[in-house]
């Protein structure tokens, strides 16, 4: 394809933390039972990739790393309009931390050959470290722009508005580049194709499967298994414990009259010696 851009978008399947199903009483996630979903942040990255393709032509290739069920989100990405999906799946990838995840994923990106733009979500909703994107950029020796909230492609360069403390910044980078997309960057659109194809159904349409969604492993993408998965991870979770309860003794004002409630609150604040007067203009 000579016209347009080859755009890669990295997406992840995460447990749905908003649904109670699959959450253990101690708050941990039972990944086997939890409802699975496409990481919300990644939807914005995918949407942005599709917008670039709509404006400039090219193709959008979605890559995910995870166990076989993650095929679902690649199918979903194709329903939104991605051209192809690649699932990097391999038992040796289990227990990857961000460094080894980034190692494996950068190999998957390289496997696709020439790439002009790599998009990732700002972070995931399960690990939520926001580290994988920049670490992939480092491995690929690409310039990166994180927290992208506006994007224009002008004369083969990307102009990006990045969120910074107290404002924003316009940056310009030549391509190829890696961009992590903030959720203020775009409004999510509906899927281009109606209905959800179950993976099973897709497998029945083997023909389509062969052309759109591919499964690769570490060997296929040329990755060194000593740098991937648990073996390649410099960090492990040493221990977890439940968050302590805080406060717990709220003084409630719930009478019928809002006016009285507020007045009683003021009296109580004085009584409790909260020194509010020091805070008033």
């Amino acid at each position: 394809m000579s016209d347009g851009y080859r755009i890669v978008v990295l997406i992840k399947q995460v447990p749905d933390t908003s649904s109670k199903a699959g959450v253990n009483p101690d708050g941990t996630i039972d990944r086997a039972r939890a409802k699975r979903m496409l990481n919300t942040f990644d939807k914005y990255a995918l949407q942005k990739a599709l917008e670039v393709k709509a404006a400039h032509g090219g193709e959008v290739l979605a890559i995910s790393m995870g166990p076989p069920p993650a095929l679902e989100i690649l199918v979903e990405a194709c329903e939104y309009g991605a051209d192809k999906g690649y699932l990097l799946t391999d038992r040796r990838l289990a227990a990857s931390d961000t460094l080894s995840t980034a190692y494996a994923l950068h190999k998957a990106v390289q496997y696709l050959g020439r790439v002009d733009l790599v998009f990732t979500g700002l972070q995931t909703t399960d690990g939520d470290t926001a580290q994988t994107g920049p670490q992939i950029a480092e491995r690929l020796d690409l310039p990166q722009i994180t927290y992208c909230e506006r994007l224009e492609i002008v004369d083969g360069k990307a102009r990006v508005r990045r969120v910074v403390e107290g404002g924003y910044q316009w940056l310009e980078t030549p391509l190829p580049a890696l961009i992590t997309v903030a959720n203020s960057a775009t409004k999510l659109q509906h899927k281009r194709f109606g209905g959800v194809y179950a993976v099973k159904e897709l497998q029945r349409h083997k023909e389509r499967m062969d052309q759109t969604v591919f499964i690769v492993d570490l060997d296929k993408v040329g990755a060194d298994s000593n740098k991937a998965g648990l073996v390649g991870s410099p960090t492990v979770v040493g221990k977890t414990w439940k968050m302590g309860e805080i406060g717990g003794s709220c003084v409630m004002f719930l009478g019928d009259s809002p006016k009285h409630n507020v007045e009683h609150l003021m009296a109580r604040l004085k009584e409790d010696n909260r020194h509010i007067e020091e805070l008033i203009q």
């Binding site: 990166q144 410099p234 977890t240």
Partner: protein, 354 residues
């Protein structure tokens, strides 16, 4: 003298202003360094840094590395990456631990540095400590052993219901980013002394691939959530962007106040991300936090636990926010916010400044 290497803080500064996170990290680093019996180092990068290196010493550093060059006037990933890597590689004894702020700079830079050195990095920590770790490592025999003087990088996890201690003693430096507001500075002591070393850095053409075209920081409107004494925050209960007028109006009653927001209000596009409080926003520690129409989801709660007083207004008596607020008013915020404004002024005539 310990034979361990030191603890290094990468100190955020913006246009010559040392950022509060730098002082917080120095506070945390002092605690770690004292346990290890080592020194606290700071690295500050930028241009025309003035007395910043000195202030880093007053605030807890024993030794400061300074890269002060025009190329570093504005933060860009690749120039700051180059400077950080050359300083670390030039050190006769690279640090045992490296800490960065979980700011838009730290979260951009730290992962690249960690990937370059192929070392571990724990994101958005709320506590840091030192301890021992025994790895039985059935799955990975290469890591088995008992390790001393490990960095305990502690962060909320699993949708903030748990805390996790992340360990990575196999590679040095052990790295972590820390949330703004989570660590306590040790306070400025102008009698503290230390060593300041200016380090020249050579850049390569490829370090300038990303250009800054324009930076817009509205200082007058800048959201100083971490410095505010009072924060009035609005949530999805505000129903629209206009709802935030009510929030601003109430905030105007207070000195040093700021407007905060829940993520749902930010996602709805009612207010910019800079106002977001919580797990993926800011951690705050005001004297008074007023939450209007915020349910109190765990991800919001973790951002406000350090507040002295939390006052919540919610029409739903069973909203989770009432489980941890100090004071709660059940009712319609559209009625209550204006009443609060009026009554705060009436009940607490301002202390006159002389």
């Amino acid at each position: 003298m310990s034979n361990l290497a030191d603890v290094l803080v990468i100190a955020d500064q913006l246009q010559g202003d040392l950022q509060p996170i730098a002082l917080e990290l120095l506070g945390a680093a002092r605690g770690l360094a004292e346990k290890l019996g080592v020194k606290v180092q700071a690295l500050v990068m930028g241009h025309e840094l003035g007395d910043i290196p000195q202030r880093l010493i007053w605030n807890g550093a024993d030794e400061v590395f300074v890269v002060d060059q025009p190329e570093l006037k504005e933060y860009t990933t690749l120039t700051y990456r180059r400077a950080t890597i050359s300083v670390l590689e030039g050190m006769s004894r690279p640090p045992h631990i490296v800490l960065c702020g979980a700011t838009t700079i730290g979260r951009d830079l730290a992962p690249r540095i960690a990937a370059y050195f192929e070392t571990g990095l724990t994101a958005d920590c709320t506590e840091l400590d030192i301890g021992e770790y025994e790895h039985k490592g059935k799955a990975d025999p290469s890591k088995v052993g008992t390790f001393h003087n490990c960095l305990y990088a502690i962060r909320p996890s699993f949708g903030e219901s748990l805390k996790a201690r992340i360990i990575g003693p196999w590679k040095n430096p052990q790295m972590a980013t820390a949330r703004t507001g989570a660590m306590v500075p040790c306070g400025e002591d102008t009698t503290r002394t230390g060593k300041i070393t200016v380090i020249p850095v050579k850049f390569e053409d490829s370090d300038f691939r990303v250009k800054v075209i324009e930076t817009v920081r509205d200082v007058s409107k800048a959201v100083d959530l971490t410095g505010a004494r009072v924060i009035v925050s609005g949530g999805f209960g505000l129903a629209s962007a206009e709802g935030f007028r009510l929030v601003e109006d109430l905030a105007s009653v207070f000195k040093k106040s700021a407007v905060g927001a829940s993520r749902k209000a930010v996602d709805a596009g009612w207010i910019p991300y800079a106002h977001q409080v919580g797990q993926t926003g800011k951690t705050v520690r005001p004297a008074l936090y007023i939450a209007l129409g915020i349910s109190g989801a765990i991800q919001h709660r973790v951002g406000i636990t350090h507040s002295d007083v939390i006052l919540a207004v919610n029409k739903d008596e069973s909203a989770p926010i009432f489980q941890f607020a100090n004071y709660g008013i059940v009712g319609d915020l559209f009625e209550i916010a204006p009443l609060l404004k009026e009554n705060f002024k009436k009940a607490f005539p301002a202390s006159k400044e002389v």
